[in-house]
Amino acid sequence: MEAGTIASAGERRSALHRSPAARLPDRALKWGLTALSVGVIALIGFFFVKLILESRPVFGQVGIVHFLFSADWVPSRALYGALPLLAGTLISSAIALVLGIPVAVATALYVTELAPRRVRGPLTVVIDLLAAVPSVVYGLWGFFFLIPKLQPAERWFADTFSFVPFVGGTVTGPNYFVAGLILAIMILPIASAISREVIATVPREHKEAALALGATRWETIRMAVLPYARGGIAGGAMLGLGRAIGETIAVTLVIGNANAIGHSFFQQGYTLAAVIANEFGEAASDPLHRASLIAAGLVLFVLTLAVNAVARVFVVRAERGRVPSPGGGPLAGAGGRNAGLPTGGVPISGAAA
């Protein structure tokens, strides 16, 4: 504080000094909020410890390796091998990625690069609305609409391409493919939103440079936009994967809930999340069964944690490489153009070669 405006040191004290009582609310607020924030960390810590403690009986009984890699899940005979569940979770999520991510990236490209300006806003809103539909409604729709309507097509596909591994054989109504398709629809909004954000950060100069070199719109996308946004798109896909792995109710309704690994994509399966939702009721009276379901929850938790951690790395890296776009019109200043190119990390000459 400059003393110049205030007459004397004594007066300055009286003008700016706050009594301890008056400072109390400030301190209370600061420490109260700090305690709250530390409380959140403590809660998650407690959460993790509690899951480990409660699932210990099953790890002690059957061993952690056996729990993860044995394929027999028969609670009535105290057999707890979670491999079919783990496999179901991974298979359905993988199908979701394969089906969902290309569509999500395409919507993001269309909205940011190709669509007429006036449909961009409404289109974004409509795609985001997919995220507003509750999981159980997806399940309801999948169960009564998707399963019966898709079965003839699945049967035709399985018969025609039966020489492809994991395709031929019998086709059941609920199966991995339907679960994967529902999951693909469910992860579309998040993957699309993140891709959209990342694609929007591609510097205008990169695109203009490609266009100026004579590239067509598609070549610009392929050579300037996609390489720049690749990391962020991968991050969005990983976040979608995290969602798909943990999704419960919709999958429970359409995957068939069979305790064995199906022989093809068109056979029934089970997932970690679905087994928890289905069996917790009967498990209440059997401590080992309960512990095994909690262990399934723990595996699910660790799996999503790992996937999200990788996703964070991708997204953070994509954001760090971001160059602030000068925001001018198509004829942005030369300074902005010069600032954009060298730091962008995408060598246009290399991409065009």
Binding site: V103, I127, I245
Partner: protein
């Protein structure tokens, strides 16, 4: 200016360009199909169930005969989400205020932000499982399944959404406003409550509404915390019904009338959630920040 200066785009490249752009547009169209189909089927199947008595009677639980309405499920959803909001919003906004106003840049703030991120990624069923083993099995409060336990699970789910959206908006509040407040001699708490929060309010409300919309549609954490019942309960220590849980239960029934109830309940739920989402967007658009 003659065209000779530019290498002409060959027919092949032109074709590839057209094809690829067409494919991108086509895939975007494909992305819209599920939403259209879901909404169409919801209205087609659900509209038949909807009547005045559908909203004003409880489910009877009768497999044959009159299945009743969905009153208890609507009220249960509103009550449980309401309690969860009442808990998650002050805590979530509080943590966001701490992150932006007090902890900015500190190691602890990084840790808190990291754990909030972790919470965002936790599947909702794992939150339900956590509440189940800490509150339901232990019989806390003298009950096994209870409405407030369902609310706890929902609050855990909402907390990271509220915190992250509030943090983003609080960061957008210009520092000049805070400095002006301090320069006028306002203490920190007054600056937070009278300057920062009111400025960020529309954005915070948007985040809260989106969190409510998310919580209202959650099924998995409610199944084994609040259970599924028929009767309307106003006591948070009782089991409470909810729309998603009712839908989930009815889907598995081989009885057309129960399935119709499920479609009607789904239509009601989606209508509620869409209204919340659209309201959130409207508020966001009118906010001066962002």
């Amino acid at each position: 200016m003659s065209a000779v200066a530019f290498a002409p785009v060959s027919a092949r490249r032109r074709r590839v360009d057209k094809l690829a752009r067409g494919l991108v547009a086509l895939l975007t169209g494909v992305a819209l199909v599920p939403l259209a189909l879901i909404l169409y089927y919801l209205v087609k199947q659900g509209i038949g169930a909807i009547s005045w008595s559908f909203f004003t009677t409880d489910p009877t639980g009768a497999f044959l005969g009159d299945p009743g309405g969905i009153k208890s499920a609507i009220l249960g959803t509103v009550l449980m989400v309401g309690l969860a909001t009442a808990v998650a919003v002050p805590v979530g906004v509080g943590v966001a205020i701490w992150l932006v106003e007090f902890g900015r840049g500190s190691k602890l703030a990084h840790a808190v932000r990291y754990f909030i991120d972790v919470m965002t990624g936790v599947p909702s069923i794992v939150f339900g499982l956590f509440v189940y083993i800490t509150l339901v099995i232990a019989g806390v409060g003298g009950s096994s399944f209870a409405g407030w336990k369902g609310s706890t699970a929902l609050a855990l789910l909402m907390l990271p959404i509220v915190t992250r959206s509030a943090e983003v908006v609080l960061l957008l509040v210009p520092d000049a406003l805070r400095e002006a407040s301090y320069a006028l001699g306002a203490p920190r708490w007054k600056t937070v409550f009278r300057i920062v929060l009111p400025t960020a309010l529309p954005g915070i409300v948007t985040g809260v509404l989106l969190a409510i919309a998310r919580a209202a549609g959650e099924t998995a954490p409610l199944l084994f915390t609040a259970a599924v019942v028929n009767a309307t309960a106003f006591d948070y220590n009782d089991r409470m019904n909810s729309l998603p849980a009712l839908i989930f239960q009815n889907v598995g029934q081989a009885q057309d009338r129960l399935v119709t109830i499920a479609w009607g309940a789904a239509l009601t739920l989606v209508a509620m959630i869409l209204m919340l989402t659209l309201l959130a967007r409207l508020i966001q658009r009118r906010s001066r920040l962002s």
